[in-house]
């Protein structure tokens, strides 16, 4: 016989043994799930594995940056954090503060006994150092304009710092909600991904660029008894499908920002939970380059807004996560106005009539989108269909991310473009003065309007709440009228988690807060 029965038996046993070994390894790494079924509920310990589609950005820790959601509040703390309902600041590294009557001077009393991961003591000079870093020409942040207003900084004592602004702003605390306190002596090494020195609940054990980050519990954390987890592993998996597979295979327990349709596919599976951030900081929009002949006409832009079926975008692209909206504000934003939010209800015949009146019927228009950003790609298809119904000749123009972002920054789209923006959840000033799509000074639509700039400056500098309300209403009417940017759906960032993950929290910028997170056994 070619191969003896003995050899066949040995081969079969080897294969079976390998499978058993693989199964043993698999079941060992999943031992949490097995013992959960058997009952004891140990709150502390364990490793949470997070999977996300892009690597962290170590050169942009001062701003809101989606890939950094998983690390900002793990490694660092901020001076304050916002209450999710009231948007009022609550203590974090700052235990209390006093704002002067003219809103130009703020004194923070800082928590004592707070240590960095390297053992250094957190002091007032670190706040000053961090703000100075924020003010550097090469530092990018949506709240940089607020930081630049700080003209005078004094460390009154190691735990007291006074900051003086050039003039008052209405959203001063947005800066302190966003700005992580980084040990100033390690700034350069942090940018290079070598050292991450913060006061947060977890310290970085290793960082492999493009691959992931491994963190472990910081035993010297100032919140005694926290964090509950021993380790957090963050892995980069480029595709949403790959992230979903990682979650379903048990390899990870939290997937950050799965594409909406992938996230809703497991919404009804009891083993998982789709957590929608209440910050509602994830808005899809279509905008116009108002310098192009067709889109320079406000009536055409309004017609386009009427022509788009926002509810279809919500259900078919965003998986029903969020709400259709003409304005960028989340329901908790001070600028949210339910009465004004649905002016542009889907009305293709009205759109057609407006276009005909404007002499734009039958005209060609390009619709640009980032082909790697699935919600934009999906929305663009719907927009192209809707514009055809309204009587225009739209042409879909998918672009690679690098090309799209460059065109976005330079305002070089010769037509419409579909993208997402955030900051509809905080004070409106941060959106219209700090977020590029809306920035009154310079935006991707090339919308350069004196009234808009005036409004933006007023919104930024008016601190009287009653005057604010009237200003915000004015702003909303202006945005609805001009439609240089048409919001489609106000949605949320999502955290898709194993149902065994408990105690998940986040701040109003969607940064994960894992102080009280644990894995149920």
């Amino acid at each position: 016989m070619l191969v003896s029965k003995k050899w066949i038996s040995l081969l079969a046993l080897s294969v079976a043994g390998s499978l058993i070994l693989a199964g043993c390894t698999s079941s060992k790494s999943n031992s949490n799930s097995t013992s959960q079924q058997q009952g004891s509920t140990a709150k502390k310990g364990g490793t949470l594995t997070i999977v996300q589609s892009a690597d962290i950005n170590t050169k942009n820790l001062m701003g809101q940056n989606n890939p950094n959601f998983s690390i900002e509040k793990l490694i660092y703390n901020t001076l304050i954090h916002y209450n999710h309902k009231t948007l009022q600041p609550e203590p974090e590294l700052a235990s209390s503060w006093k704002l002067s009557s003219d809103n130009r001077t703020i004194t923070f009393n800082l928590r004592s006994g707070v240590k960095y991961h390297t053992g250094a003591e957190f002091t007032a000079n670190d706040v000053i150092g961090t703000i100075k870093y924020m003010q550097l020409p090469t530092t990018s942040s949506q709240t940089k304009s607020i930081a630049m207003l700080i003209t005078h900084m004094v460390a009154d004592n190691p735990h007291k710092v006074t900051l003086t602004l050039d003039h008052a702003v209405s959203n001063l605390f947005d800066l302190f909600e966003m700005m992580p306190i980084i040990n100033p002596s390690n700034m350069q090494q942090t940018e290079n991904g070598k050292t991450f020195d913060g006061t947060g609940p977890f310290k970085v054990d290793s960082y492999s660029p493009g691959v992931g980050v491994k963190l472990s519990k910081f035993d010297g954390y100032w919140q005694k008894g926290e964090p509950y987890l021993d380790h957090v592993d963050i892995n980069v998996v480029k595709s949403s499908q790959g992230m979903l597979s990682s979650l379903k295979s048990g390899q990870s327990q939290l997937a950050l920002d799965l594409e909406p349709l992938d996230a809703v596919s497991i919404k009804n599976n009891p083993q998982y939970k789709l957590v929608q951030s209440d910050a509602q900081d994830n808005t899809l929009y279509v905008a116009s380059n108002v310098k192009t002949p067709l889109l320079s006409n406000k009536a055409v832009r309004q017609a386009i807004s009427y022509s788009i079926d926002r509810k279809r975008v919500l259900s078919q692209v965003m998986g029903g996560i969020g709400e259709a909206s003409d304005l960028p504000w989340s329901p908790d934003s001070p600028a949210y106005d339910k009465a004004l939010n649905h002016r542009y209800t889907y009305n293709p015949s009205k759109a057609k009539s407006l276009l005909e009146k404007a002499g734009a019927a039958g005209q060609s228009v390009n619709v640009y989108y980032n082909s790697g950003f699935a919600p934009a790609a999906g929305a663009a298809q719907i927009i192209v269909f809707d514009l055809k119904q309204a009587g225009l000749k739209p042409v879909a123009q998918p672009q690679q991310a690098a090309t799209f972002l460059t065109n976005l920054q330079t305002g070089n789209f010769d037509g419409l473009f579909v993208q997402g923006h955030g900051f509809g959840q905080l004070h409106p000033s941060i959106l219209i003065n700090g977020s590029f799509p809306f920035n009154a000074s310079k935006n991707a639509s090339n919308f350069d309007n004196a009234t808009y700039k005036q409004l933006a400056a007023s919104v930024a500098q008016t601190t009287d709440p009653s005057k604010q309300k009237s200003l915000l209403r004015q702003l909303n009417k202006f945005l609805l009228d001009q439609q240089f940017l048409s919001d489609l759906v106000v949605s949320s960032h999502t955290y898709t988690i194993s149902s065994k993950v408990k105690g998940l929290q986040w701040n109003m910028l969607d940064d994960l807060v894992l102080d009280k997170t644990y894995i149920q056994k």
Partner: protein
């Protein structure tokens, strides 16, 4: 001889220089701006300008080219614009991960090829060769990105036997690394296993007809001993040649498999660098690939020249 080596070395240098110009130029022509990638989509124009200045991207292209090229000659492979780490460190780690994957795939390919090729080559049953050919055809035809996705769905998601992505702590350092290597290595190995298996089967059939095999059978040696101790070793030389040629295929195929399994190898690094417009890292990786190719060509030419010279002497 030395004159020949000098000539070939000079032409190799010219090839490297031309390649450097092409690589630099094409990347600069491609859309994308590393300053925008670093600063984020909400960054203002002054910040982007400041970042460009800090990276030296505001200098004219000739200066940028010379700065990069001179860094290569002095062994200074610069720091990645986006990651901040030195490109040498990134390249080293990525290369070791790719080699680990390729080596794992090579071992799997050999095991699978033997499992398919030996029965096909030595069995006297009429259907064996046809069955083996069918299996080979399927393994060769189905591309790795299809088998990869199927493997993840079946073995990771459905059966929870293997991780769906990632590489574990490091090469051969632990059972976790080996565990993470199995699926991507098997996936990468299949087309190679198909080719090698077919060659092995064919080579075994040919060797089986040799006189020494008939003699051995006549002497009463058991079939198993005959196959494993005599037929197989004598069938290997052409198979090893094919296997050697397939190593290049394994390395290039690794790029696709790395994407499916999020394996942090050279392919992933290159894709990340290109999408983030990290010019320096992309330039250095491509130059490294050109350098390896040029060195192999140079050595091959020199060895050929030596053999030609010796053959010439023998003919005399």
């Amino acid at each position: 001889m030395f004159a020949y080596i000098r000539r070939r070395a000079l032409s190799a240098l010219i090839i490297l220089l031309v390649a450097s110009v092409l690589i630099f130029g094409i990347l600069r022509l491609a859309p994308g701006d590393p300053a925008v990638a670093i600063a984020g989509p909400d960054a203002t124009a002054p910040v982007i300008k400041a970042i460009r200045q800090s990276l030296g991207l505001d200098q004219n292209l000739a200066v940028q080219y010379w700065t990069w090229l001179s860094g290569l000659f002095t062994g200074n492979l610069h720091h990645s614009y986006v990651f901040g780490s030195s490109v040498a460190a990134l390249l080293g780690q990525a290369l070791s991960n790719t080699l680990e994957l390729a080596l794992g795939a090579l071992i799997c390919a050999v095991v699978i090829a033997v499992a398919i090729g030996v029965p096909a080559g030595v069995s006297r049953r009429p259907g064996s060769a046809r069955t083996a050919n069918l299996i080979d055809s399927v393994l060769y035809a189905v591309p790795p990105y299809v088998t990869g996705v199927l493997f993840v769905l079946v073995f990771s998601v459905a059966l929870h036997l293997f991780p769906a992505s990632g590489s574990g702590p490091g090469p051969w350092k632990s059972s976790a690394s080996l565990h993470a290597l199995i699926l991507p290595a098997v996936c990468l190995s299949l087309p190679t296993a198909a080719i090698v298996g077919r060659f092995l089967g064919s080579s075994l059939r040919k060797t089986s007809e040799a006189d020494f095999v008939r003699t051995a059978r006549a002497k009463g040696i058991s079939e198993a001993r005959l196959v494993w101790r005599h037929i197989l070793p004598n069938s290997l030389p052409p198979v090893l040649t094919i296997l050697g040629l397939q190593i290049g295929q394994l390395l290039s195929g690794a790029i696709i498999v790395e994407t499916v399994f999020a394996w942090p190898g050279l392919g992933q690094l290159l894709v990340n660098s290109v999408t983030e417009s990290d010019y320096l890292t992309t330039q250095d990786i491509l130059m490294f690939a050109v350098l390896v190719f040029v060195i192999i060509q140079l050595l091959t030419d020199i060895v050929n020249n030596v053999f030609d010279a010796n053959r010439g002497k023998r003919n005399l």
